[in-house]
Amino acid sequence: MTKQITLTIDGQKVTVPAGTTIMQAADNIGLHIPRLCFHQKLSSIGACRVCVVEVAGMKNFAPSCCTAATDGMVVKTNSQAVRKARRDIVELILDNHPRDCQICERNNNCDLQELANTLGIREFTYEGERKRYAVDQSAGITRDPEKCITCGKCVRVCSEIQGVNALSYAYRGFRTTVLPAFNMPIKDSVCINCGQCTLFCPTAAITETDATADVWRNLNDPAKTVIVQIAPAVRVALGEGFGFEPGVDKTYEAVTALRLMGFKVVFDTQFSADLTIMEEGHELIHRLKNNGKLPMITSCSPGWIKFCEHFHPEFLGNLSTCKSPQQMMGALIKTYYARKMKIDPANIYSVSIMPCTAKKFEASRPEMNASGYQDVDAVLTTRELIKMIKQAGIKFNELKGSEFDNPMGESTGAATIFGVSGGVMEAALRTAYEVITGQALPSIDFKAVRGFDGIKEASVDIAGTVIKVAVIYGMANVHKVFTEMEQGKRSYHFIEVMTCPGGCMGGGGQPYLPNQAEALDKAWYEKRAQGLYKIDELKKIRKSHENPQIKQIYQEFLKQPLGEVSHHLLHTHYHYRLPKGIASKVKDTVSI
């Protein structure tokens, strides 16, 4: 057993294991020491000094997030001197921060604003030089370093959870700022657009790149047929923007809201998720039967694709050639649907709503114009959709639900669970099993691939062949698995990779969590996931190959999985990308 120590915090005695920080000890007795740069899933660096406390016998105030408690320590978290110091610190941060709260993206959802308010700061005490930087934008991410308070959460999440290391501190003292390597534009860096930094940033220094203005413009253009698709993970998180609990299914209310906003046709990305399973399932079978390159690795998570291009190009041949559901839908809208409805694809403006910032980048890839046009014109995150619904003055809470449009609106439970880590694997196994064996599955739920562990493994017996699978989220975990595969410590037939913690449940485009709950709250993500599993359970059809509209599209248009039309519209290849990335090595699996 670890040694126990006893300390006194604000007059209360508290006993904790040795090695506990003062902040953790205070949390144990229900004392919330104000904090800004601290996050329990990241290393503590004491960058902001907001969490300073007074320790008897110590000359200076100690940052409680990274000061270990010791036996007999006497701590004051709320003395007059500490309160003054803390206020001074926050006032100094505010002095070097644009004072434009009213017109800021994070207004009412900003840790700094909240902190200034809680501490009761009512005037600007200091007036000094302020840092000036230009805004830097990629397809998915917008950086506004003027708003950066150099807390370094983005640097740490990028390094410790995603292993990407796209950002780091640069320069020193007053000039300290967070930058990509060589101060290159973020679009040219190894950034994979996953958007985890947008969830961690306490201010609006990093946000998604806005698409709402462009979408509104096209919605108001009478010459355009604006068609929209909505991803599985969005429907269980959208409600959060309107006061609902995470995990509440708002699929059909969303369809109504989209129609009210002026979208002419509303399709379901779950339809193309079913289609992805048809193609990917057959691709897996093809690879297994014909000594193809194994393990096959899923390719629906665009952050992961860019990671593979920068960091592990040697695995590009292992990627499934299937496009993601978003891009399959995009290609079909401007070909299959346009021909069916006799609309000139040039006049179609195709929008997708995703839990994701990397999808914005994916849509802008030059590979993604199988229809002869950019297949998906604009990508909105869940957050942006919430914003647009509010801008349109729609009372979301009072809406009645309505159905998706045909012929790409119907979907199965297998497609729904694409939104959660392990879901694509489970959906693929449901179909692959039945296609290979010709028999119905004894049990439809593959529980072994569910849950929130960063790396999950399972073996599935399909007609006497044991298929070894792995389900991974977080790029640091991917790097770990790949390294161990190269060392011969692991081997698989099929791997599902999702970029974000918990899959799309923790997507970089999902609603910000309420201030104090902080990003990466497992319980919160689990609620979202339970919402998806509930939709799956309640669906009449739960296997992709049984979706009647899928059968119809193969009959009318695609003919067969992996056929010529599919090959042209639904499959693609990726290429190595520079600069070459160096991924963080993690010893233990990173789980939320």
Partner: protein
């Protein structure tokens, strides 16, 4: 094939990078550790006169340290420069003692002689000058440093001769180089 670099690299840079590689192989105590980065950057700074992006990318791959972090370290320390530095870098101490003993007058004369401002480099790439804080020999103030050489009890009148000394030294070095004995082959020694 996977090319590792972002830009084509000149022959000269390539041969210098090879030396950096040799340094990383042979540098003694910290081999294969992240702590090797500091020494490696020092080596590159001396070898190239600054930290070119190619060299930082090269070290990144060799030591498996992300370029963003290397850039962070390179910009943190004043010693490192991201642009080519002058061959002879002059540091003028303006710590308290040197300041009181007349550091400002030295600075004026230096500016006059070199016709460049603080942090700039002369057009021929020979000299650049910067202000530094205490060099640790206040009793000998005012102090000026040129590369590794320290000049103490400075007076403005000494400056032209000192500059001339380095100009002569440089000509000599160029001759040696022409003769095929690389004067800059062993940086840091």
């Amino acid at each position: 094939m996977i090319p590792a670099k972002t830009k084509p690299i000149s022959k000269e840079t390539q041969s210098k990078l090879k030396k950096v590689g040799e340094y990383l192989e042979t540098s003694p105590r910290l081999k294969d550790q992240q702590g090797q980065l500091m020494g490696a950057l020092h080596y590159v700074q001396t070898l190239f006169g600054y930290l070119p992006q190619e060299a930082m990318e090269y070290i990144s791959e060799k030591l498996s340290i992300p370029t963003a972090h290397i850039y962070g370290m390179a910009t943190f320390y004043n010693y490192f420069s991201l642009q080519p530095k002058a061959k002879y870098q002059i540091y003028l101490c303006k710590g308290t003692a040197c300041y009181v003993a007349g550091g400002a007058r030295i600075q004026e004369r230096l500016k006059e002689e070199l016709k460049i401002g603080l942090g700039e480099t002369t057009p021929d790439g020979m000299f650049g000058w910067n202000i530094t804080r205490c060099l640790g020999c206040c009793g000998l103030s005012p102090v000026m440093q040129v590369n590794e050489d320290i000049y103490v009890r400075m007076v403005p009148e000494k400056i032209p001769a000192i500059l001339e000394k380095y100009r002569r030294q440089d000509k000599k070095a160029a001759k040696v180089k022409e003769a095929g004995i690389g004067a800059f082959d062993h940086p840091g020694k």
